[in-house]
Symmetry: C2
Subunit: 343 residues, 2 copies
DNA sequence: CTGAAAGCGCTTACAG
DNA sequence: CTGAAAGCGCTTACAG
């Protein structure tokens, strides 16, 4: 909280300096065509001379508009979300919005607080990647949000809202089918928190793919963990301890997969050689890690762009029907799963 | 720009509902102690019932304060900057600030526009990582910023301001000395744009380290490039084309180093075996790429925290003296340079 | 194009 | 603790 060092120059002062009315000056800052070129130039010159800075806050207050958008993501050190954020920025900036950024680190409390703060700041809309364990209270809050909003990446039960995500189930099916084609029969599913919709959808895909291949699920091969690198390390250690270890693993996300590969290496297992590894997200690192990671692209940037577009449409249109955009994931085969298994 | 669907509940309405004056309600939202517990509870209940949302924008306008901070970084897909951003967030959130995020992607125009937008939004302060080719015009603008500001990562000539960065020269010296100790004599300096202060400082460190070892600089071994992964790829290809290629390379940043390693691999050279590679920044990927990358830690997160702290102090203190915080970089030795060269 | 007035939702300052 | 008034910097609506 601060006081400005110098007092801001006001539109009033500009008007006086240029010898016009405040109303005229106001028309000029808003680019109204109904001002003669001559007065416009005069006023613009005065603005420059006095160092006038438009007070968008005051203008928004008076006109009951907003030029800000709140974006709430989970984790800024996860490349998936930074990619998404780039997509959001790309779209929103061309519409003249400025973005408030908040990161929850998957804490429901922080999410709740960020929502409040953004509403207090009169954001014109909110793009929210909800935390995994979003509480009932917060869900109610989101339901009654009186600003346009779109959920991204993860859906929330009972919240009717625009949503942009990927078909996780389909993505996992593609991944598991690929592993099956490589000759694998014992395929584990590592990582992710079981409560989240993103996990459930992936689990569904895993189930379907195995079912279609006539393989029944071995519960021992499903090992949840935190959706982090260290979660992956633990899951890897755990999976090596079961009586009959898998020959291939599907990981909840690339981040988890990096941890899994690290965990395997720590136990002397060579990922891509001894055990095939597949991730999910296709973050940038997946093409430069060792071995390069077979993964499923979830088009983070596109999610961001689509979410921004949805939000913009809501703001402009005010129609009440809700859109759901579900992107089709794509398999990217790399070294970590390229070794065929002789059966 | 949008109209709210529902009209916001105002403090006036809350006051009427609770049967108190608007002034009293205002005292309560601001947590003033001079209100009896009984009325406070009554009013808080009314707020909850009516779904009141504090309008921080209106409050800030009236009291001429701000609760927002603008943060302008270069590239959000560069882990160095996301780490920095995490540091900034950590510090600022505990002081109740909300952050506007802008990314320049090293475009002077975008930087200029972001600065304007943030000022129009009445930010209480600005943390700026200036773009490499910041123009005279923008520099003048920054000089006359009438909000508190701190520069981070990169200094700007002729701008007197708080600054937080690392001793790049020292960092490079540590890196090059390490390579010398490993028995290398021909050490290249790859990547970075020659105009930037960050490049010049690194060049200075490179020069000093070689000079101290009695080695004169071979201009052929200094190959600038864009500060990106693809810049690194190109620089690697280029350095292999010179008549007597180096046995070790120092790279402008980890990002460049990843590109360099990729570029070397493409030409059949094994980084860490055939040519030693050292980076700068110690981003997270550097410990998981292959080979793991020897690098110099520049403590991005700490830069962010310190910059936020500086800014906060400026806002609170309003003293005019300027602080410079220069962090001491640290060498992190990994596989990419661990092979001793027999001389 | 101009001028005078009202108002966005708050806080401030002051008399009671 | 309350009430009435003024004001932050803008936009709006309206009569000229």
């Amino acid at each position: 909280m601060k006081q400005s060092k110098r007092k801001r120059v006001t539109l009033q002062q500009v008007a006086e300096h240029a010898g016009v009315s405040r109303a005229t000056a106001s028309l000029i800052v808003r680019n109204s065509p109904s001002v003669s070129e001559k007065t416009r130039k005069k006023v613009l010159a005065s603005m420059k001379e006095l160092g006038y800075v438009y007070d968008r806050i005051a203008a928004n207050l008076r006109s009951q508009t907003s030029s800000t958008i709140g974006v709430i993501i989970t984790d800024i050190s996860n490349t998936f979300f930074t990619e998404l954020l780039i997509g959001v920025h790309e779209e929103l900036e061309k519409d003249g919005y400025t973005v408030f950024l908040g990161t929850t680190f998957d804490s429901d409390n922080r999410q709740d607080q960020l929502l409040s703060t953004m509403l207090e700041h009169r954001v014109g809309g909110i793009i929210l990647c909800p935390v995994a364990g979003t509480s009932e209270d917060t869900i109610r809050k989101i339901q009654h949000l009186d600003v346009p909003s779109v959920l991204a990446v993860r859906e929330l039960p009972e919240v009717e809202s625009d949503y942009v995500g990927v078909d996780y189930s389909l993505g996992v099916q593609k991944a598991v089918q690929h592993l099956l084609q490589q000759g694998h029969k014992r395929i584990a599913f590592l990582g992710g928190t079981t409560g989240s919709t993103t996990w459930k959808e992936r689990m569904e895909g895993y189930r379907l793919a195995l079912e279609n291949a006539g393989i029944s699920i071995d519960e021992e091969l499903v090992i949840p963990s935190g959706p982090t690198r260290s979660g992956g390390v633990e899951a890897a250690h755990q999976v090596l301890n079961i009586s009959e270890p898998p020959t291939a693993v599907f990981c909840f996300s690339d981040l988890v997969a990096f941890g899994v590969m690290q965990g395997l290496k720590e136990k002397g297992i060579v990922p891509g050689e001894d055990i095939a590894v597949v991730g999910f997200d296709n973050v940038m690192e997946s093409s430069v890690c060792h071995p390069t990671l077979t993964t499923v692209s979830s088009f983070a940037r596109q999610i961001g762009k689509d979410a921004a577009r949805c939000l913009h449409n809501q703001i402009v249109d005010k129609k009440e029907h809700h859109h759901r955009i579900i992107l089709t994931p794509q398999l990217v085969v790399r070294e970590s799963s390229s070794k065929k298994r002789s059966s």
